[in-house]
Subunit: 453 residues, 3 copies
Amino acid sequence: MNSSAIQSAAVRAGIGPEMHRLITDLYPICRSITGEGLRKTLRAVGKLVPLTLREVPTGTQVFDWTVPKEWNIRDAYVMNSRGERVIDFQSSNLHVVNYSVPVRQKMQLAELKAHLFSVPDRPDWIPYRTSYYKESWGFCVSQRQLELMSDDEYEVVIDSTLQPGHLTYGECFLPGDLPDEIIVSTHCCHPSMCNDNLSGIAISTFLAKHLSARPRRYSYRFLFIPGTIGAITWLALNEEKISRIRHGLVLTGLGDGGKLHYKRSRQGHAEIDRAASHVLQHSSYEHQLLDFSPYGYDERQFCSPGINLPVGRLSRSPHGTFPEYHTSADNLGFVGPEKLAESFDACLQILALLERNGTFLNLNPKCEPQLGKRGLYGMVGGSSDAGVKELAMLWVLNLSDGNHPLLDIVERSNLSFDSIRAAAEALQQKGLLRECLESAPPEPAESLERTKS
Amino acid sequence: MNSSAIQSAAVRAGIGPEMHRLITDLYPICRSITGEGLRKTLRAVGKLVPLTLREVPTGTQVFDWTVPKEWNIRDAYVMNSRGERVIDFQSSNLHVVNYSVPVRQKMQLAELKAHLFSVPDRPDWIPYRTSYYKESWGFCVSQRQLELMSDDEYEVVIDSTLQPGHLTYGECFLPGDLPDEIIVSTHCCHPSMCNDNLSGIAISTFLAKHLSARPRRYSYRFLFIPGTIGAITWLALNEEKISRIRHGLVLTGLGDGGKLHYKRSRQGHAEIDRAASHVLQHSSYEHQLLDFSPYGYDERQFCSPGINLPVGRLSRSPHGTFPEYHTSADNLGFVGPEKLAESFDACLQILALLERNGTFLNLNPKCEPQLGKRGLYGMVGGSSDAGVKELAMLWVLNLSDGNHPLLDIVERSNLSFDSIRAAAEALQQKGLLRECLESAPPEPAESLERTKS
Amino acid sequence: MNSSAIQSAAVRAGIGPEMHRLITDLYPICRSITGEGLRKTLRAVGKLVPLTLREVPTGTQVFDWTVPKEWNIRDAYVMNSRGERVIDFQSSNLHVVNYSVPVRQKMQLAELKAHLFSVPDRPDWIPYRTSYYKESWGFCVSQRQLELMSDDEYEVVIDSTLQPGHLTYGECFLPGDLPDEIIVSTHCCHPSMCNDNLSGIAISTFLAKHLSARPRRYSYRFLFIPGTIGAITWLALNEEKISRIRHGLVLTGLGDGGKLHYKRSRQGHAEIDRAASHVLQHSSYEHQLLDFSPYGYDERQFCSPGINLPVGRLSRSPHGTFPEYHTSADNLGFVGPEKLAESFDACLQILALLERNGTFLNLNPKCEPQLGKRGLYGMVGGSSDAGVKELAMLWVLNLSDGNHPLLDIVERSNLSFDSIRAAAEALQQKGLLRECLESAPPEPAESLERTKS
């Protein structure tokens, strides 16, 4: 296993533009928590990485929730008496409240207004609204558009369907040396908005692509799921897999110009939390660490008290802290290739640290082993100080009692992760150290497929 | 149970003057650790709240101590050769060293002086002295009085009795929904001094009166006891009750103008300590938190290593930190109705927080429950932030794994206690939460009465 | 047991000069990790304290190491063609690389230079070099000497022997009331340098001398051993003794003008760490506390993960932080009698604190015992504050639940160690406290002597 390969190519030239291109391709699609837009998005991801699509039937009980009816939409508009489409789904899919039931009706402006949403203080932006769990309908418009609408009789058409079908999600599993898994989860239910959530889809896709071509200690499971209901569905249908998950990241909002924010897991001091914190603190990237809170993205589900997985979240500007959030202003110009590349690099460094953060056992724990006779130590004694390399070896030997992953040793010694890792590898090569391998139960031979694929 | 009722009336108009009136009534009585003055005081309290008086016979062994003889006094004076009472118990009961044995003797000033106590740097104040455990006698005088006494033969009379009798204490027990108890202890052995300890008696009495009229989760036991020997006696004779005590407060010195001081229990981070600290830190009252030390009032006994109850102490200026302490200057003018009301309110808020600080169990711990279908959540998604109410519900659900009382959730979420409590109640009402009830053994059917009452 | 006797004579007048005289006597001897110089040194120590010399044969396996051949040296020089000794072992034993194999050869300067070591930026100082574990030879010279050597043919003679023999170490065992041991370890393998390590030898010797004449709660084991290999040898051959070691100190570099440095054990918060920290923080000596690191002196072995003893290190300037380190400038003028005395005092205070840091059990843990009836408390009550003595007694009683050594009580009460100790002794005398004695297994009747003595 040469897991440092994962890190060495951390920032590949050109990966930022590549990710931005994927975002551009996926931008026009009208996604939702179910339906053809979601499927089309997952199929596009599936062209880049080995992705299994799972279809979960409407009505399936998933913990306290029920998989909803499938929603699809062909067209929608509001037409004035002069036959002009004053609101038109074809110009932006944000114009329709996501999950609107079918409508075909004529009405006066006064009646229509109860179904119109705008952002008064951002007169050019279209807001994003949904109504997944209550059957209703509506249109989202810019404030300027709204103000131009005069008293008139309007023809209101939403050519949608809301019928029994399936909830779709995608899963990219990359087996590693160990059955122990790292999950990377990103939601893919938002229509035409780039930061939330196309940036997450792009980063996840390219991380999976990058890792699939390299040796891996851990197994990786990338989840491309609709928000909330998708995470709940996956957890409910895959409970037997949960005990194998060692670390996890929720990825979202990774393309804007804000600094990187890592939000700790509910556990607060899990290995993923320490790894992310170490990477960010030793990077040149502007960043901030956030404590866990039960509001946010799918970490809410992964960190619910009965699941309680060590899953953190990496974002740039957190949701709700920038005006473009959940509006049409979260567009292609709002996400930058260089910011995407920076986020990609931070993710990769975190994963690489987890890959390399082994726990070792000093096989010669009583007193120091004689490093000199193994060529690991300066031969002429009496000089005034050991080099960093010798010091790193002494630290690794001293703390490798089976209870301290390398990151512990890094933190206590104040040496770099790379020097501690190099020392561990040198000592292991000389037979002085043995790695304590993780011990998750192996994946059952016959994987339970409760969902058609 | 609507325990918030306890809090809602926290500051009742007029309660300060009411408490000051009780202090005024009790002020002239010559109290001690035994005797008629103590009984008279307890009987006055018993007119306001249901109080059981207990009488423990002289000679009763209570742990390392023995209940002393009962002391009573009718009169005492020092009379000069001209027949003038130059020191007179009738003008202040502080003039006699408390527990002085009977004396009737003539002596010269030189001999008398070995029995006189004054405070030289406060020439107008009479000090307070006791001699409970060594048979002796003495008079306390102002420095000015002392200096006026010329060489003369004095008639010295202390018309007291020190004989087998009883130690008296009062107990007001208010049963609640749970057998688990909160004890509130105040000492009542000091003669004519108002802050130490009539303020404690007044606050305890009015707290008991207030609580007796309201629903209670906890059972409450108010102890009105002589200092030190009373606490030891109660603990020695009620060992079987100790395991039911969940929280406790020693109340004393609560009427002066200083800021509120909460002294932590020996445990240091008990629920009472956190509740008191939370209440004071979120109040507008000037306050200070003190670590436990084994010197002070009856917390010394409740927090001895073999008892180790979570009992803190609430005072205003701590004993010994103000010049009026244990002198005649601790008089009716030294305690203010508004300070008494403030102290009363702080006590009540602490008790109300304990009443409402339940521990709950999320009955749907795997992923979030669907709040929307229960009418607990905004129906149209996509808006940029959840309100405090939703956030409070998410925090309560996330941390209610049976190990976190609401105060934990308050501290971690940085939301107000009231909003967290309201969220818990809403969730409980919808069947999403179950309260984990305390589990102290119930009070034995036949209460052991080792003392006559 | 009157262990305060240990402390009372902490700074004896004249002990600094006495220790400096021992250093002066030992200074000329050419020590190494084996051989006659080491034996001669130990014999000199043995004249002052009861010292057992142990001889471990060459080839003995000690954990990962092997006891090396014994090295001895009679003479060594480099002679120019004019018959002048330009480098002469007789003028300083530092001139020869310690453990140099025998040489008798003529060579040109160019060839010789590969075997010469100097310190260019300190032109007058001779460096100290060793080659214990790789057979080689060399000379150490001042930069000035080196620059004077012209192209010439030189006669190079090292009249040494490197042959099967023994490794010698010295052990001074002082039995105490308890089988539990404190070890004090100092290395004695350095040739003519005074701070490193003659100061350690002198302090250890005089500590042993001081303690041998006084009652002791603990048993003491003073080890005089060659660095690294000596500690490893002792641990490998005395594994059965390790479980009896409760505390330990490595002593070295204690005569220079720098401030005192205590380096914590690997455990970090062991009793020795807290005792040393307490003593230094309450002394008037300039000092600094250092966290454990696996580089340094023999604490490396005592604190290896498979040994993990609570052994700290006391030094003045740490190794490698002063230019004189490991050069001829670490001479008799570099160590001062008053600094040695100060270091001695600090050691003695640390040991005295360990001696006196008992753990007690309050035999009357329910409520306070009645101190007054035992003459331990002021008799006339009501005065405004208890004295320090009473307060110390209350703290000792309150925390003596068998889990808190006196140092815990000192730290929590913020009173002095002496007042807390005095309170414990007074309470013990009155039968209110019982000491919880340590419980190490007794020394086996027949001590295993794997080495000849």
